[in-house]
Assembly symmetry: C2
DNA sequence: ATCACTTGTGGGAGCGCTCCCACGGTACCT
DNA sequence: AGGTACCGTGGGAGCGCTCCCACAAGTGAT
């Protein structure tokens, strides 16, 4: 209410002590009220809350951080240049989920880009100074030293897209294996039998899992698994084009293509068109990511959708758990936590 | 070098005191070295720096913030939902400039979205807690209470795009007036004489300045300034379409259009095409922003480019100055600081 | 009535820094 | 020789909080 007298008194912002004096209680009691401790009587709590409102008291974060050895902040580290970050809907969807979930808490989110060496240098300093309670890592390459640095500094961290099946950090991922199966089974159900796969870079765990899903879906359907029906792209449009051309050379009679990403599917589509093949009449095409590209392609592309926003939300949940677990210093929860979320096929005209 | 024994000693991170002991000096001296004070002898400085390196000392930011009453962090506040932020190249270009400039300093950048009411609530708390030393404000509407809140809290702030000619905050802007003149003068030099203008929302200062530039460029060329040759759009494609239709109704013989934004130009282009007019043969078209739209339009759109990255850089410079100025509590520098940067015309086939 | 708990509360200690005052030393004046 | 100036340095005080121990008052078992 009368949040105006706030900056009178000593000229600056009111302190815990001033609130305590005003409410006629001790410093400790005010601290308990502020932090929601249950060990405070109803009457006292009300008195303190009134004093807080009257003085317009806002806790001093620096003091709290110093005394309690925590920062109430977590960092979202993007190991990519800003430009890529903005170009890809993956990041903005994830940020949306992260932002939504964190706004339910008192935590503060920091966005840190670590694309250049200089930025990485600063980040290392930043982490060494323990300026955040935890870290969210998105899109980390297999050989990135960052995860190990975090482990060494004992900073809680959650990674999106584990680096391998043996990922040591807590991770959130979509079901790449299952997603790929969905795509292939969909093509099978449409009567396709000569299904090729353009894979992503095979040093990316998710891409390997998708290839696994492709293979096993075929095997389970009693179809032969032919290595020459697979060709690596590198997640780019040009890579998709090259891979498609290579596949057509080996198998001019293929009747379906499952591409490991929408961007590669776009490249593949061009080559299919150029060689006079109609989509989906001659060759059915399925992508992965269900991005804007998929919706705007001609014809619209059937694609596997990952629940990216949901992944962002789960990452926050897991990270907060890790942070809470670590507080009592027990370092329990030694079990690795790996969350895998289901994908969903968005069926469109390309298949 | 031997940055390994770092976390031995007391189990945690080394403190100033430990560094002092190791270097055989006092706490104050170490502090001076860390903060680059000139009042330290060369020999002592070297000894301290060696100790810092050996122990892997990193200052505790919370303690520093508490003792010095500063945070070494500034916030970039985006009063828009995340989605718009990512959609517009304006923001990412600005972020690039801001990020580049701030990485030259020890300051930390926080990205804060304040699109929803809830987010605004949190932001107000955040600012009240003085968790940042300064604020960068981008794309603020005329009636936004944020600038006044910042003034009231005495938090240094720099705004991109002043709200009016009487903007009280330090501001950085591109030369909207000059940019509009460039556009119109370009059309005049191409022999166009019946030039219409689709304005932006007239409650946006920049849009008014562009209209001023349009008018005065015509007047200076000795041409009549006709109010019916101007029509407000609202910065949307649909608005551009409507405005174009209205202008053609009144002046079917116009030979050029200067649109207040590329997006509106895209709308105008559609109407021009639909009414059988060729660009640039029958009607020349010029936009504003020089965005991706301009480059990809058919025909490519001549457009006024704003130095957005440079604006971001200047904003940081100005903000750091403000913060530094305020430190000695003198609150000098009462002169309003308004920086205006020049625009440049990107000439393409539409004119 | 005594003892053992529990509940609510007050306040000391201390987190790791910066700020600033005081002090010894050297250099230069009178 | 004494005085004045400054430079480089050490360390006390204090920033505003949390943590935790101590303690008063209440509760119920013995």
């Amino acid at each position: 209410m009368a949040s105006h007298g706030a900056r009178g008194r000593s000229g600056g912002r009111p302190t815990l002590e001033e609130v305590a004096a005003r409410a006629g209680v001790g410093r400790g009691t005010v601290s308990r009220v502020i932090n929601g401790s249950p060990r405070v009587s109803e009457a006292t709590r009300a008195a303190v809350e009134a004093a807080v409102a009257e003085l317009g008291y806002v806790p001093n974060t620096a003091a709290r951080a110093l005394a309690a050895n925590r920062t109430d902040a977590i960092a979202l580290v993007v190991p990519e240049p800003e430009t890529r970050f903005f170009a890809e809907p993956y990041f903005s969807d994830m940020l949306k989920g992260v932002g939504a979930q964190i706004s339910e808490t008192e935590m503060q989110l920091l966005l840190i880009f670590a694309g250049s060496d200089r930025e990485r240098q600063r980040l290392a300093q930043y982490l060494a100074a323990h300026r955040v309670d935890g870290v969210l890592l998105v899109s980390v390459h297999a050989d990135d030293p960052l995860p190990d640095l975090l482990t060494q500094l004992e900073i809680p961290a959650v990674i999106s897209g584990p680096r391998s099946a043996a990922e040591t950090l807590t991770s959130v991922d979509s079901d790449n294996y299952g997603g790929a199966r969905q795509a292939v089974e969909h093509l099978l159900s449409r009567g396709r039998r000569r299904i090729a796969h353009i894979t992503g870079r095979m040093d990316v765990y998710g891409a390997r899992r998708r290839a696994d899903g492709y293979r096993e879906a075929l095997a389970d359907a009693g179809l032969p698994v032919d290595g020459t029906m697979m060709e690596p792209g590198d997640f780019t449009e040009e890579g998709g084009r090259r891979a498609m051309a290579a596949l057509l050379e080996r198998h001019p009679d293929l009747d379906a293509v499952f591409a490991g990403s929408d961007v590669m599917a776009a490249g593949a589509r061009q080559v299919l068109r150029e060689t006079g093949r109609r989509i989906p009449d001659d060759v059915a095409l399925v992508g992965y990511d269900d991005s804007a590209i998929a919706r705007h392609m001609d014809p619209p592309l059937t694609s596997v959708r990952q629940p990216i926003e949901e992944m962002g939300r789960r990452m926050i949940d897991l990270l907060l758990e890790e942070i809470a677990d670590r507080r009592p210093a027990v370092s329990r929860g030694l079990e690795r936590r790996q969350v895998v979320l289901a994908t969903k096929l968005s069926e469109r005209e390309s298949s």
